[in-house]
């Protein structure tokens, strides 16, 4: 507390005045003769731009620290992750913990590298287990609503927010909360790859509390082992080897079939071309030719322009975190919370939302 007052550049008297606290009360509290009250601490927190929790416990969660120390869109994204993580921690105490489902311990060697497969191999091994998890639920990664599928299968919250354009996404693992934040994008395949990449970070248990990915395709970033593993995971999850081998015949793959495959898998043609080359299913020359096809052209070549347009629109839309939304509403229904946290997640006015919820009583009448 003394440090906070000193860093404000104010005298004790001036600081006391600014937080509407009697100077003698402040002095007594600082000397330990009186305890700061809940209101004192709230006013001090507001003035000092710190949190009440920090004033009491001194704990500064890494996410909060990262949010303060990161500028621009990245900082905004981390702040959002911090807010959502805190909400999860709070509603966990009300009986709604994050339903996080990591991969079983049996696959620990793949995560830790003990099988000697290297980071890319670890990513592939993790993707195989993750794909099996999806298959158990009769789902796959080649589904349009990938955020909902991942939320259901792994218990991680996925939110899409307007935090671009110089930012792809982040994965936050704070306490019991697991959050993926994606930037809205007019390139759906990039957003999907980012989602799979961030899931890879979380499933690998990468030991930082936050992975901020400004540009998932950046060569510099891919030199980092954990980023290489997450990229390998994403590629294997979204473009499974078996599916690729099945699509390529003994004479290779035609442009038309390649376009159909990219559109079906909802991946970028360039990523798919490189992946085919990785498995030696196409040579370098063919890879160069195929990777120049744009996603829009691939969709047009397969008469899927309409679907493509819908996917672009979906990728540009905001998406609240599905599991938090579900649990905030459940807490409201059970009377454990007001409607305000739910309304806040939706960005809605609470009074208007309540009126809307209560008015849907079948009064529309016969049409």
């Amino acid at each position: 507390m003394l440090g906070l007052i000193e860093s404000s550049g104010l005298t004790r008297r001036a600081f006391a005045e600014q937080v509407s606290l009697d100077e003698s009360k402040l002095s007594k509290s600082l000397s330990g003769a009186r305890r700061f009250s809940s209101l004192d601490l709230a006013r001090i927190a507001e003035k000092g731009q710190v949190t009440v929790d920090w004033l009491i416990t001194g704990d500064d969660p890494p996410l909060a620290m990262a949010a303060r120390n990161t500028g621009g869109h990245g900082g905004a994204a981390i702040s959002l992750a911090r807010r959502l993580s805190l909400l999860r921690a709070d509603i966990s105490r009300l009986g709604y913990p994050q339903p996080w489902r990591p991969l079983a311990d049996a696959h620990e060697p793949a995560r830790s590298g003990q099988d000697g497969s290297g980071f890319a191999g670890q990513g592939r091994a993790l993707a195989a287990v993750a794909s099996a998890r999806l298959a158990e639920a009769t789902r796959s990664a080649s589904t349009e609503d990938l955020p909902a599928v991942i939320e259901a299968a792994f218990g991680v919250d996925v939110t899409v927010a307007a935090i671009g354009p110089d930012f792809d996404g982040l994965a936050a693992s704070s306490g019991g909360a697991k959050i993926i934040v994606l930037a809205t994008s007019a390139v759906p395949s990039r957003q999907r790859f980012t989602l799979a990449h961030e899931l890879g970070h979380l499933l690998a248990g990468d030991d930082q509390e936050v992975h901020l990915d400004r540009d998932i395709y950046s060569p510099a970033q891919s030199r980092d082992p954990s980023e290489a593993r997450a990229n390998s995971f994403a590629a294997a999850l979204l473009m499974p080897e078996a599916r690729l081998r099945a699509a390529v015949g003994p004479d290779g793959i035609s442009e038309q079939d390649f376009a159909a495959l990219a559109t079906d898998l909802m991946v970028s043609p360039s990523a798919l071309a490189y992946r085919l080359r990785e498995f030696r299913l196409v040579d370098s020359g063919t890879c160069d030719k195929l990777r120049k096809i744009s996603a829009a052209r691939a969709a047009a070549m397969t008469s899927q322009g309409e679907e493509f347009a819908r996917r672009v629109a979906a990728a540009t839309a905001l998406r609240p975190p599905g599991l938090l939304l579900r649990d905030a509403y459940a807490a409201y229904q059970a009377g454990a919370a007001t409607l305000r946290p739910y309304a806040s997640l939706l960005g809605a006015d609470v009074d208007e939302l309540r009126t809307a919820l209560e008015s849907d009583d079948g009064s529309a009448g016969e049409l």
Binding site: S37, S38, L39, E46, A331, G335, R340
Partner: protein
Amino acid sequence: MTEFLFPDNTVLCNFAEVDSLDLLTSVLRGRGRWTEAVAYEARRSARVLPPLTSLVTGQEFGEPIEISADADVLRVERLRRAVFGGAEDEPLRHLGEAQTCHVIETWPELAGSWWISDDREALRYARFRGITTRETIDLVAMAVADGEIGPKDGHALMQRMASAGRHLRLPASAADLAR
């Protein structure tokens, strides 16, 4: 056991808006209490509603209840955020609600106290938690029952509150207040 009555700041403002705080205090009969955050909110509201000044400087609600134990402060902060939807970086937002709810729920000497509010969310939550709730309309009905004000005047008083932009549940007629 004495039952205390904890009006929130919006209720105080309702009566201050129509210059009828004397009616409120007579209904409360010395049982009114407030937490320090509600007293603070009232002090701020007094800048635009001068009748509140007498309440803020007087002793009608006793000394504002301070919450100082670390565990209590942390619980209030979590209630404020998780239940009432206050943001971490707006530490004063919904603090009065969280403090009031906390002390009624967990301090034995205040068990059974009533929480008086016109906020639908706060009322709903409090009822789920087993806290007795009342609204401004109930206080005016109590004043009518006590003979402090006639039903028609009570009805007119509440209409004036609403006309001044206050958000509260209104009686359909004067007869509704004579329950």
